[in-house]
């Protein structure tokens, strides 16, 4: 362990120290707004450190290991770190008002959120099974408490469900990891990879002989589906999203999902080495994707609570994302070897902008109208034209209509599927997009067409307005110039591929 090891995880260290300072400051300071500012300052400082790590100010270049090869800092982890930290800034920055009025334990709320962010950051850069699992726990345990901190009655119930199902998923993942370890005799990604590639000459060999490995992979993937909010572990999502404080819902839907996909992609491309396993993995992810999309979209049709509706929508989006994961290049030939994971990274970045914008607006609006019922949004156009416009942009992006980032994301994901001979999967995706039009357009209809049914005045706080405006600009900018992200995504994906 050298100094550089600590430098490499300096963003995580800074955030965890910020969390501890927030806990301590909470004891002495009455002005809780200050705690929000401290948290944001910590996040921004760690963001600068992340930039420093990526630009070679602190270390020579990305692609280095730390702590006996448990942690790897590469472009892939930097991509996700930036995504997670910025999403964290957006969530905390815009929820100052929400926290002060809706949360009893403000210091704990902020500190636990920061600890969970630390876990996410460690998760995306860990390349060792035990570190992966422990980081997963660090992301989940604070969330259990955070979900319970909401004031509404369902919070505690939601928290209990989250606790138990999260434990089940952790156990299933652990079981999968045990199989991986038992098969290869190592917990390090690189060692597992070299063992797998040394024992197999052809994919058929591997698949037929090693049922343990197969079981391990299935358990691992299905366990992670909890984090992704994908089938078959999607059932907690609506209950928990509805019960949790809305900023936590936003955080769960964006950051948790992104970290889950990061782990998944890293295991696929670093441990399993991409091509050898592609038939099995591709089939597995295709099945999960189809079920996630269909369940999410069909269930969303009849929802009247906007948080529940968006919960089902995130399940559907996890399904779309899994199409990209399933688009492994089986033949290993062709022009776009890694268009699938690239599309996933682009999709996640765009989804972060879109979903955060939508959720933060809902925080702002529902505070004024006092409900999460869809009917409460009727006549929003008249009350607050700008808010309804931004909401419309994010809903359009969720639906996937140009010129938003949602459209481009779907284009990339579906074309990746077509490139890897998964045309049927792309078609299922398109059909699902059509189904989703029903409920997304319903939101727009309620906001823009329906007559208003209550006289409450809409007052959205300045921080939410600012952050959602930035989000809207991001949605349009990334939609018009996808190469801004795609180039980075390409480098990021290349950095995790073991060949």
């Amino acid at each position: 362990m050298s100094f550089q090891d600590f430098l490499i995880i300096s963003p995580e260290i800074v955030i965890s120290f910020t969390a501890i300072s927030v806990f301590l400051l909470d004891l002495f300071i009455n002005n809780k707004k200050f705690l929000v500012n401290v948290s944001i300052a910590g996040l921004l400082f760690s963001f600068i450190l992340t930039l420093g790590l990526s630009n070679g100010w602190l270390i020579e270049s990305p692609g280095v290991y730390a702590f006996f090869s448990s942690i790897k800092l590469d472009e892939f982890s930097l991509f996700f770190k930036v995504l997670i930290i910025l999403s964290g800034v957006a969530v905390i920055g815009s929820s100052g008002e929400y926290i002060s009025s809706n949360i009893e334990s403000k210091g704990e709320f902020l500190g636990l959120l920061l600890l969970s962010i630390t876990g996410m950051l460690l998760l995306v850069s860990s390349v060792e099974l035990i570190t992966v699992w422990v980081s997963l726990e660090l992301t989940a345990i604070p969330l259990v408490a955070l979900v319970a901190l909401g004031k509404n009655d369902t919070s505690l119930e939601a928290s209990l469900k989250f606790l138990i199902l999260s434990a089940v998923s952790s156990v299933v993942i652990l079981y999968g990891l045990v199989f991986l370890y038992g098969y290869s005799g190592s917990t390090y990604f690189n060692d597992i990879f070299s063992y797998i590639s040394s024992t197999t000459s052809s994919p058929e060999d591997l698949i037929v002989l090693n049922y343990g490995l197969l079981i391990g992979i299935i358990l691992l993937v299905l366990g992670i589906s909890f984090k992704l909010a994908a089938f078959p572990f999607q059932m907690w999502v609506p209950d928990v999203y509805q019960g949790a404080p809305t900023p936590i819902t936003a955080y769960l839907s964006v950051v948790s999902k992104a970290a889950g996909f990061a782990v998944l992609l890293r295991i696929i491309y670093s441990v399993l080495g991409g091509n050898d396993f592609s038939v099995i993995l591709s089939n597995l992810f295709s099945i999960i994707a189809v079920f996630s999309m269909t369940i999410g979209n069909v269930m969303a049709l009849r929802q009247n609570d906007i948080k529940r509706l968006l919960a089902y929508s995130t399940i559907a989006h996890a399904g779309y994302l899994l199409i990209g994961v399933a688009s492994l290049n089986i033949s290993g030939i062709g022009e776009n070897l890694y268009s699938g994971p690239q599309g996933v990274l682009y999709y996640l970045a765009g989804y972060a902008f879109t979903n955060l914008t939508a959720f933060l607006l809902i925080i702002g609006v529902s505070k004024s109208i006092g409900t999460f019922e869809l009917s409460g949004f009727a006549g929003l156009r008249k009350k607050s034209p700008l808010t309804s416009f931004v909401l419309a942009v994010s809903v359009i992006s969720l639906l996937g209509i140009p010129p938003t980032v949602g459209f481009m994301s779907k284009i990339f994901i579906f074309s990746a599927a077509v490139n890897t001979n998964l045309t049927w999967l792309a078609i299922v995706g398109v059909i699902n997009s059509v189904i989703s039009a029903y409920y997304y357009l319903r939101i727009l209809k309620i906001v823009f067409v329906d007559p208003e049914n209550n006289q409450s005045e809409i007052k959205v706080s300045k921080s939410i307005s600012l952050i959602t405006l930035i989000g809207m600009i991001g949605i349009l900018l990334l939609g018009l110039f996808p190469s801004l992200i795609l180039e980075i995504a390409e480098i990021a994906v290349m950095s995790i591929v073991n060949i």
Binding site: S16, S105, T131, S135, A148
Partner: protein, 176 residues
């Protein structure tokens, strides 16, 4: 049964303890009284600890007894006693009969996979050998691993404990 080589004493102990563990686990979820469940849980944990001893993982075995039997089971027992009306039945769960099907299939498949697998018996990690050659127990080895190879996981575990602690306190405040 093949009688080519007779089972050793260790084998006999293993089979007895394994049977005990499985039966205990089934009993935990079958009895209606929560307090009885807690006691059965403690007993099952002890038998799992014995399995660890058989695998010559004595440190883990001791920890198992300390934490699960000494702390977790006792905590559950206390919690049960503090609650006035002990819930005696779990009638809400009407899926228990249906669950037997997937559980059985799961068991068969896992057994199959474990059986068919060419398990690697030696670790492929290049651990540094413990400093002193005479290893009385594996405590020192685990200790060294925790501050060397698994340093970062160890630290993260510390953060998890912090989060759990603070989370529990925050929940307590919410209730009160």
């Amino acid at each position: 049964m093949v009688f080519a080589d007779l089972p050793t004493l260790v084998d006999i102990v293993f089979w007895i303890i394994a049977l005990f563990t499985v039966c205990g686990s089934v009993a935990i979820i079958s009895v209606n009284n929560v307090f009885k469940s807690a006691v059965l849980l403690a007993l099952t944990m002890v038998s799992v600890a014995i399995l660890y001893f058989l695998l010559s993982a004595d440190f883990i075995g001791v920890i198992q007894i300390l934490v699960y039997v000494g702390a977790v089971s006792v905590l559950i027992a206390f919690a049960v006693m503090l609650v006035k009306d002990v819930p005696r039945s779990n009638s809400a769960n009407n899926l228990i009969n249906l669950s037997i099907i997937p559980s059985t299939i799961f068991l068969v498949i896992i057994a199959f996979a474990i059986g068919a697998e060419n398990w690697i018996t030696k670790t492929t990690i290049n651990y540094e050998e413990p400093l002193n050659e005479i290893v009385v127990s594996n405590v020192s080895w685990i200790g060294e691993l925790l501050i060397r190879e698994y340093f970062i996981s160890f630290q993260i575990a510390g953060l998890i404990l912090l989060a759990a602690l603070i989370g529990a306190l925050a929940l307590l405040r919410r209730e009160g």
